[in-house]
Amino acid sequence: MTQEKKRAINRLESMRPIRAEIDETYRQSAAAVREGKPIAWAMVNYWIGDAILHALDIGAVYPESYGAVCAAMGAAQSYLDRCGEEGFPTHMCGYARNCIGYTAKMMKDCGGQIPPDAPMGGMPKPTVLVSRGSSCDAGFKWFQALGRYLDAPMWTLEMPVPGVKEGLSKEVQERNVKFMVQELRSFVAFLEGIFNKKLDWDKLSETIYDLEEIGRVWHETNELRKAVPCPMHSRDFWTCMNGPTTPTGDLKKKLALYRALYEEVKYRVEHGISAVAEERYRVGFTELPPWHSLHFFDMLAERGWNFVVETWGYHPPRPIDLTNVNDPLERLARISYSGLTTAYFKEAAQAGEYMGFLGYPNLEYAREYKLDGFLLHPLLSCRAASAHLWYVQDRLMRRLKIPSLMIEGDIVDVRLFDLEDALKKAEAFEQIMDHYKHVRKAAGIGW
């Protein structure tokens, strides 16, 4: 009598319709272009521009997310190679190189049509490009580089990035919000001019409400993961994170799906159900995962590794009080500014940790989620995601006696990730995590 092998990660059932809904947006965007409707290629911009696109009925696809799709489906290599042939240095962002290679193929070889080998229906030719000034230089340089192939106009959404100390000033915060609102007004005017269409401000307000609500539910879902054992593994987070960070499609339907997800996670907490069979180690993951090798996490789950929290930048913004903010553009500006840059500044400054933008939240997560260790994943093609990880490793150890394992790889390029070596290192790292449990206890650190 054979016994079916139990999956190491206890995946959430409610995650599946969310994934299906996200996948559906690719098909919808390709269909929309066939019907002559406008489509934007947008950098993940944490809602600030998405809500306006949505309210103007401009569909959006996200080349970053599509890079992950190409990597996960083993289709990225030919696009990476093509990007190199086009003269771009190979150290650049894997997502960007995937997209540039894809675009070169679409425009030069396929007459502007989706390449036949493109996974999941492909990305249709864009009508407009919406880049971002936040998070990384690739966020705008990559779309600017697409000008070699596309005649789509481009807008860059500005996002101030003050230093931690400087950003604590109320004056600085208010003037940055004012700047963002001015920029958003210009963005609206830009889109209205391109598409000869007026923005429906009521629809924008409703869209923002839906997004805030999705964000709130998703935030509360992640708060539930502080429970021991943790009910939701990072793999479910990664499957679902695109819903809130890249809001497209029917937002009310999405909201219902995220509420169902919340209920399932809550049920698990109430019944002590873990995301892995035996939670031996509570581990945080920082930066984006190797999308091409996600089975790595299943292998670690078999060893009792439960990934309970991941990169702060992909989590929804901490809810803030916007009771007295009626201008929808100001709401967007405040949510994005707080969510992406200044959310943890206060705590960071109090702790004297000036790396508040991307570094400090890891320390906060380590405390809140009672972590045994961190798996840091420097991306060999991404400076923005990697430049601070050595610093984070140092601060985690100095401040909290939390060890971290550095495993280099890439989000897209499978050649840069050594699975066997990573597994060997992980096995040895367990002894280190065990050791530091005692060290923390001796040092009076709470877990």
């Binding site: 100390k165 420097p378 400076r383 610093y391 140092d394």
Partner: protein
Amino acid sequence: MLEDTLVIAEKTKAFDKVKELNQERTVRVKQLKAAGKKIIGYLCLHPVLEMLTAFDLVPFRVLGDMGERVTRADTCMPPMVCPFLRSCLDLALKDKYAFLDGVVMAHICDVGERMAHIWRTYKEYNYFYFMDVPHTVHPPALDAFKEEIKGFQSSLESFVGEKLRVEKLEEAIELHNEQRKLIRELYDLRKPAPPLITGSEVLQVIIALASIPVDEGNELLRRLITEVHERRPRLPEKKARLMIWGSVVDNVSLIEMMEGVGASVVMDDLCLGTRAYWESVEMTPDPLDGLAYRYLVGIRCPRTLRETALYRNKKDYAADLEHRFGYLRSYIREWNVKGVILQSVKYCDTHGYEVPAVKDYLQKLGVPSIYLEHDYSYGSLAPLRTRVQAFLEILK
């Protein structure tokens, strides 16, 4: 002591002074510090130097050291980021910048931004300020940047303990504009065939200027320009007149290598070069307007996005290239450039994304170009030499 040094400087030939400052960049600022001046380190091009000068602070540009192996920075910054910035941080962690009284850094690029915060965590100074810099040149971005400069001014007022007087700021702008004018005069000496001054000499001059107060730099430049005019014998003529474009070059070895294999580097588009000096500050009723424009729009670093106007709601690539790189056309024409070397330190994304577009533009102008990438080490120059030689063969 301060006066003694100035007397000695007057007796020294200007280029000897330049060489001295290249051998030991800190020699002058350490004298000034001993005499009671405060020295403020700054990184890259966006910190507003006029503001430091107006407060009687001495700006000192933070540079790396190709000859110093990175060791300390390994603990807090990975190897797959800009090797120049890693070197700067490494020097700071080794206390090579411990003489600074303060540091100002800016949101120049991803790694520059991260490094500023890491630097601040591990090294304490009496003064540290981080300036955010918008990514676009949209009108609201210009307004926001002006406000950012105001914030920088306020922080300096707190540090120095006195309010800034507008006249002092205007005087500082005039001094820095004078330096920019003199630099353009110096560059004019590269126009003749053969040029009166080599590319590697010009880089040494600029490194020296980044190591001393602006008024002393202006005096040095005046004497240097006179000396170069009087030079005998003139430099040998080389047919390959090159322009060098790209990320930071703060060591003469790269240019010396090019000039050693038969080229004359007659022009540059570098941040220790034209990008730092070409645009002056316009004297506006509110000086901060002129400063904001010059430091956001006037600095031609690819970290700032510029886009051309749309044509019938579409982007025109040729117009976009002209809008972004049109200034190179005049460099090429006026300095009679025959070929362009595009170079970048490895892992510099802002330049990396730009390379195919710059090549497209140069191709349109009919000027051959080659792209070289290096890792900010002497060791990486040998293979580049072969490629430069091959490029010079093409130019023949």
